[in-house]
């Protein structure tokens, strides 16, 4: 077997013996593993941040990644948003009609989309499309020694590869979320007007009257955090990728799953926080 990579994989000395594992021992080893994994990810994140916010910036690389992360995600984000908005309107109508509260459809749709779903859906879709893509790309570079080659040519992979992806993601995500917000609200409007017999003008007026700046801002703050999560997870898993096609595939899967879970977890934490401080 030929491991041609610079990252040093220290296999966790397994305390498990053959046969049925002692459950306490197993839980202990698993949680130790989880803690050290979270620690490594966090240190990696700090390093990416530190590089991203200090010169020098590879502007061409950032731009290239913006196009890749932002522009090429538009179709998937737009399609997801229109369906979520439409389904949301239907359900709110169904629930509201039980109390004769159908008139709340526009206001709850706009609130749900801007404060929660626009950002979450964008985050989840990009966890798949972007996080997995980044980790596969960087993983392939790792196992073909391209990352080592960068270092020997005095270009830090953090500066040349990871920071541009990080910056591109935290810029592109808010823009995508804005698009998702608009299209999601439109999805709700479409269903309301064409299937639920709402008056179009009244629907739009109700939406506008209800919407506050804070609702939009909340979604955008979330988007920045999701962008950081998605780019960091992709770069981290790619950087650690083990040799061979299976190693790179595994890195992509881990990045996608990890980013999706972290998107949902940070979303919940932020929602709690924003309600708490009245944003």
């Amino acid at each position: 077997m030929n491991y041609s990579q610079g990252s040093e994989i220290v296999s966790n000395a397994s305390t498990r013996k053959r046969g049925f594992p002692n459950p306490l021992q197993w839980i202990g080893a698993a949680s130790l593993g989880l803690f050290s994994e979270v620690g490594r990810l966090f240190i990696f994140f700090l390093k990416v941040m530190a590089t991203a916010f200090t010169p020098r910036w590879y502007v061409a690389q950032v731009w290239k990644q913006m196009v890749n992360i932002g522009f090429y995600s538009l179709p998937v984000v737009g399609l997801s948003a229109v369906f979520i908005g439409a389904a949301l309107a239907l359900n709110i109508y169904e629930g509201g009609s039980r109390y004769g509260a159908e008139q709340f459809v526009p206001s709850i749709v706009v609130l749900g989309i801007t404060r929660e779903l626009g950002a979450t859906i964008t985050g989840l879709m990009l966890a798949g499309r972007v996080s997995a893509g980044i980790s596969a790309e960087i993983g392939a570079m790792r196992v073909t020694e391209q990352i080592d080659a960068l270092e020997t040519l005095s270009a830090s992979p953090f500066r040349y590869l990871y920071a541009p992806r990080f910056l591109a993601a935290i810029i592109a995500l808010p823009l995508l979320v804005l698009v998702a917000d608009i299209i999601g609200i439109m999805g709700g409007w479409l269903v309301s007007v064409y299937a639920l017999d709402f008056d179009s003008t009244t629907y739009i007026r109700n939406t506008m009257d209800f919407l506050t700046n804070n609702d939009v801002i909340v979604g955008l703050i979330k988007a920045v955090v999701f962008g950081a999560v998605i780019a960091t997870m992709g770069c981290y898993q790619g950087d650690r990728s083990e040799a061979g096609a299976t190693g790179v595939g595994r890195a992509a899967t881990l990045a996608m799953v990890g980013a999706a879970v972290l998107v949902l977890a940070t979303n919940y934490i932020m929602s709690t926080l924003f309600v708490e401080i009245g944003l």
Partner: protein, 254 residues
Amino acid sequence: MTTPILRLENVKKSFGQKHVLKGVDLEVQRGESLVVLGGSGSGKSVMLKNALGLMTPNDGKIFFDGEDVTKSTGKTRAKMRERIGMLFQSGALFDSLTVWENVSFRLLQADRMRRKDAKERAIETLKKVRLGPDVADLYPAEISGGMQKRVSLARSIISKPDLIFFDEPTTGLDPITADAINDLIIEQVRSLGAAAVSITHDMASARKIANNIAMLYEGKIIWHGPADIIDNSGNDYVDQFVHGRADGPIQPAI
């Protein structure tokens, strides 16, 4: 005696329970061409990566031009890397960049040379490895394996290093292409006056490019001597390797 350009002193490297380097001692003199022999998986690449600072040894010291660089970072490390070229086992060309951007990567990124000048330098260097200007604008995926190795060689010599590492430069090439690569390595190393450390398990290639030969076995350098006495080394391990016999003190790695 002058200071060696590179010296490894009792370098140890393990991955978990796996001890790959168990105390490597090695000296490379200026202008010398040293070939390191060793079986697959014996830790040859790991040794180079430690020397380059791509991995940090668990123990031992690495000196570059007399300076301890074992744990150096930032500017000191960058300065050392400026003087070292590396030809990776897999070529390691950046597949999102064209051939000329690969060759002049250091000039473009670290030295911030203007693209026009960098391209000129790249084409000049490509000529040294017998590649015409027509390949300059191609991508690595569009050229053959032998050509990729040449491009890689061009990238490692463009900033005129004092020391070049070659990690299995001929592995995976047909004998004729391999021989051409050997010739190019000899020619370029000579014209730069650089020292070269080449890793190989190809004896024909070793005989051709080496002044001195060292053999890595079980994590240590077990033999180190002039290339012309390799057939009479008096070492059973070296003998077995040189003659490619399955029986002897070395167990085949299968």
